[in-house]
C-alpha cells in the first residue's frame, strides 16, 4: 500500500513522523490543558550545563571572546546626554566553527542524534543554523540534509541564503532549495519520512539548552574581566531560542538581576510567505516577521512544544530599522575593525541606543556576532535591495517603510531602539493560548503557567483573563 503523499495526506502523519524523528514523547509533559511542565521537559530531555560544555568543547564550540567596543562607546557618549553612555561589549560568537552562535544549538542536537543511533540529521533552515548543523554533522560523521526557502517564483535567490547553501555544501551536506511558502514543512516531513534521519529542530530542549552555555560563559567572563555581572544583555530575537537559552544560562550562573532585552529588525507590513515580497526584505532572520509571532505563540514551531519561550525571560522588546542595522554594521567595521553580520548586528544597533539611557559606569552586552562574506555582506545586501527597487538613502530612520526604502541614519544620534508595549505582547500570548487551544475555563495550574510564561503577575493574568470573560 503506497502512502498518501498529498499535502493533506502527509500533514496528517505529522505527529507520527515527528515522534520518530525527534525521539521525544512530548505527551508526558502535558497537563491536558494550557499548562505543560516546561522545566521537566528541559530537565529530562536536555543535558546538564557541564555535559553541554563538554559536548560543545569537544568540537571547538563556545568559549568565544568578549570584546569591549571602546570606540563605539565613545561615539555613543558623543551623542548621549552628559554622563550617559554605558560601556558596550560584544561576545564574538562568529569565532565558533561555523561562524555563529548556532553552533551551540547544533552541537547538542547532532551529538544527541548520534547517541540515539540516527544515520543523519535534517534541518529546515535558511539561516546560520543550517551551516552549524552541517559543520557538526561533518565532525560526527553523520549525513546531513538542509532544507531552505531560497528563491522567489522568478528564480531569484536571496544572496544571503545562497551563501548559506554554499557553506552547507562546503561541509558535505545536501541542500534542498525551495521557492517561497510554508509548505517547506511538507518537503521537510517528506524527507524525514524518506530517510529516517533525526530532526535537528531549532526548538528541541537540547537545541535551546545548547545556548545556555552562552549566557553562563558570558556571566563568568564578566566576573573575571570586570568583577561583576553586566547590567543589560541584548539578544537578537527571531524564533526566541537565542534569548531563551542565553537568559537561562545567565540564571544558571546566578546573574538573575541582568536585564534581558530582545531586539528585532522592523519588517512590519511585509508578509513572510509572500512570493512578491520575498526579495523586498534585506533580512532573512532576526526580524519582527519571526520575532513577534514566535513570542506570542512559541508552539508554532516544528515540534509539539517549543523549548524557546522568550516571553518567560524578556524584560523588554525593541525594534530597530534595516537601515540602522546596516549603519551599525559599517560602524563596527570602521571603528572597531570587526567585519560581522549584518543580521547578528540587530542587537548591536539596539544596544547603541539603549547604552545612551544608561550611566557611563554601567555595562551593556551584545551577546552574539555572525560571520560575513559574499552574499551576506552589507554591500551585497544593499546592492541586492537596490536592484529590487528599494530606495536607499540617508535620512531619519523614522521614515523607513519596509519593502519600499532603507534609510541610513543621517547621524548616529538618530539611531533609536523603539519599545514594544510588553503588556500588549503578553496579552496577545494569553489570547493565542486560549483561542488556539479552545479554552474556556482555567485551572490553578494553568494560572501559574501563564504567570511564568508571560513573566508577569497573578493580578495581570487575572485581569487579562477577565477581559476575555474566562472563568477561573
Amino acid at each position: 500500500m503506497s502512502k498518501d503523499m498529498s499535502y493533506q495526506g502527509l500533514m496528517a502523519r505529522r505527529n507520527e513522523i515527528m515522534k520518530q524523528a525527534v525521539g521525544i514523547d512530548y505527551s508526558i509533559f502535558e497537563s491536558g490543558s494550557i499548562a505543560f511542565d516546561y522545566e521537566k521537559m528541559m530537565r529530562e530531555t536536555g543535558y546538564t550545563l557541564e555535559e553541554m560544555q563538554k559536548i560543545q568543547g569537544d568540537t571547538g564550540v563556545g568559549n568565544t571572546p568578549v570584546l569591549e567596543l571602546k570606540n563605539l562607546t565613545a561615539l555613543a557618549r558623543k551623542v548621549a546626554p552628559k554622563g550617559k553612555g554605558a560601556r558596550i561589549f560584544i561576545k564574538d560568537e562568529a569565532s565558533n566553527p561555523s561562524g555563529s552562535f548556532k553552533a551551540r544549538r547544533a552541537a547538542n542536537a547532532v551529538y544527541h542524534a548520534k547517541k540515539l543511533g540516527y544515520k543523519g540529521v535534517i534541518a529546515a533552515t535558511s539561516g546560520n543554523y543550517g551551516a552549524a548543523v552541517a559543520s557538526q554533522a561533518a565532525m560526527h560523521g553523520l549525513k546531513c540534509i538542509i532544507v531552505q526557502e531560497c528563491y522567489d517564483s522568478k528564480g531569484v535567490g536571496q544572496p544571503e541564503i545562497i551563501e548559506k547553501a554554499r557553506k552547507c555544501e562546503a561541509y558535505g551536506a545536501e541542500v534542498v532549495q525551495l521557492t517561497v511558502g510554508p509548505e517547506l514543512f511538507y518537503t521537510f516531513l517528506k524527507l524525514l519520512e524518506e530517510t529516517g534521519y533525526f530532526n535537528a529542530s531549532l526548538y528541541t530542549p537540547f537545541g535551546i539548552a545548547g545556548v545556555e552555555t552562552l549566557g553562563y560563559e558570558l556571566a563568568i567572563q564578566f566576573r573575571e574581566k570586570i568583577g561583576r555581572d553586566p547590567d543589560v544583555v541584548v539578544c537578537t530575537n527571531a524564533g526566541g531560542g537565542n534569548l531563551t537559552g542565553t537568559a537561562r544560562g545567565l540564571i544558571k550562573a546566578g546573574a538573575e538581576s541582568v536585564n534581558v532585552v530582545g531586539a528585532s529588525v522592523n519588517l512590519q507590513g511585509l508578509h513572510m510567505a509572500s512570493d512578491e515580497q520575498f526579495n523586498k526584505k534585506s533580512f532573512t532572520t532576526g526580524h519582527t516577521g519571526f520575532g513577534m509571532p514566535f513570542s506570542t505563540w512559541p508552539d508554532r514551531s516544528d515540534v509539539p512544544r517549543s523549548a524557546a519561550r522568550p516571553l518567560r525571560y524578556m524584560d523588554r522588546y525593541v525594534t530597530v530599522s534595516q537601515g540602522e542595522v546596516f549603519y551599525m554594521t559599517e560602524i563596527l567595521a570602521q571603528l572597531e575593525g570587526l567585519e560581522r553580520g549584518p543580521a547578528g548586528n540587530t542587537s548591536l544597533a539596539a544596544a547603541f541606543s539603549i547604552a545612551q539611557e544608561l550611566n557611563e559606569d554601567q555595562i551593556i552586552v551584545v551577546q552574539e556576532t555572525e560571520y560575513t562574506g559574499a552574499g551576506k555582506h552589507i554591500q551585497a545586501q544593499l546592492s541586492f535591495a537596490r536592484e529590487n527597487g528599494i530606495e536607499i538613502r540617508f535620512g531619519n530612520p523614522e521614515e523607513e517603510v519596509p519593502g519600499q526604502n532603507i534609510i541610513l541614519p543621517n547621524h548616529p544620534s538618530l539611531i533609536k531602539a523603539r519599545d514594544f508595549d510588553m503588556d500588549k505582547i503578553r496579552k496577545s500570548y494569553i489570547k493565542n493560548c486560549l483561542e488556539i487551544r479552545g479554552i474556556e475555563k482555567i485551572s490553578d495550574a494553568d494560572m501559574d503557567f501563564l504567570v511564568q510564561e508571560t513573566k508577569s503577575s497573578y493580578d495581570f493574568v487575572k485581569e487579562s483573563l477577565a477581559e476575555r470573560n474566562i472563568q477561573l
Binding site: 554554499r166 534542498v176 521557492t179 518537503t187 508578509h271 560602524i331 536607499i392
Partner: protein
C-alpha cells in the same frame, strides 16, 4: 548542452502545483507552484531540459529536469554602494571633533 553520466548537476521539480498548495498561503504565492532544486551525480547521459535521475551527496535517488551542469556559486558582493563610504568618514570626524551633546 550535454551532461555525461557521473557529472555533478542540478535538477528541478515542481513539488506542489498551484492547486495543491497549502490553504494558508497568501494569494500571490498561491498563483505559483512550489518549486525545488537539488544537486547530484547524474545517472545517464542527458541534454539540458531532459528528465533525469541523480544520486545526491547523501545517497538519495531523486528524479527531475536537468537544469545545470557543474552548478556554480555566483553570489558576490554586488554593485558598489557608495553611501557606505560616508558612514565611517562621519563617525571618525564626530569622534575626533568636539562635543555634540544635545
Amino acid at each position: 548542452m550535454k551532461a555525461n553520466r557521473g557529472e555533478w548537476v542540478k535538477i528541478y521539480n515542481i513539488v506542489l502545483t498551484s492547486e495543491e498548495r497549502a490553504p494558508q498561503v497568501p494569494d500571490d504565492t498561491r498563483k505559483v507552484p512550489l518549486e525545488s532544486w537539488v544537486k547530484g551525480f547524474i545517472q545517464s547521459d542527458a541534454e539540458i531540459g531532459q528528465f533525469v535521475e541523480v544520486v545526491t551527496i547523501t545517497g538519495r535517488r531523486v528524479e527531475g529536469e536537468l537544469v545545470e551542469i557543474n552548478p556554480a556559486y555566483t553570489h558576490n558582493y554586488g554593485k558598489f554602494v557608495p553611501e557606505l563610504l560616508q558612514i565611517g568618514i562621519q563617525a571618525r570626524s564626530i569622534l575626533a571633533g568636539g562635543d555634540v551633546h544635545e
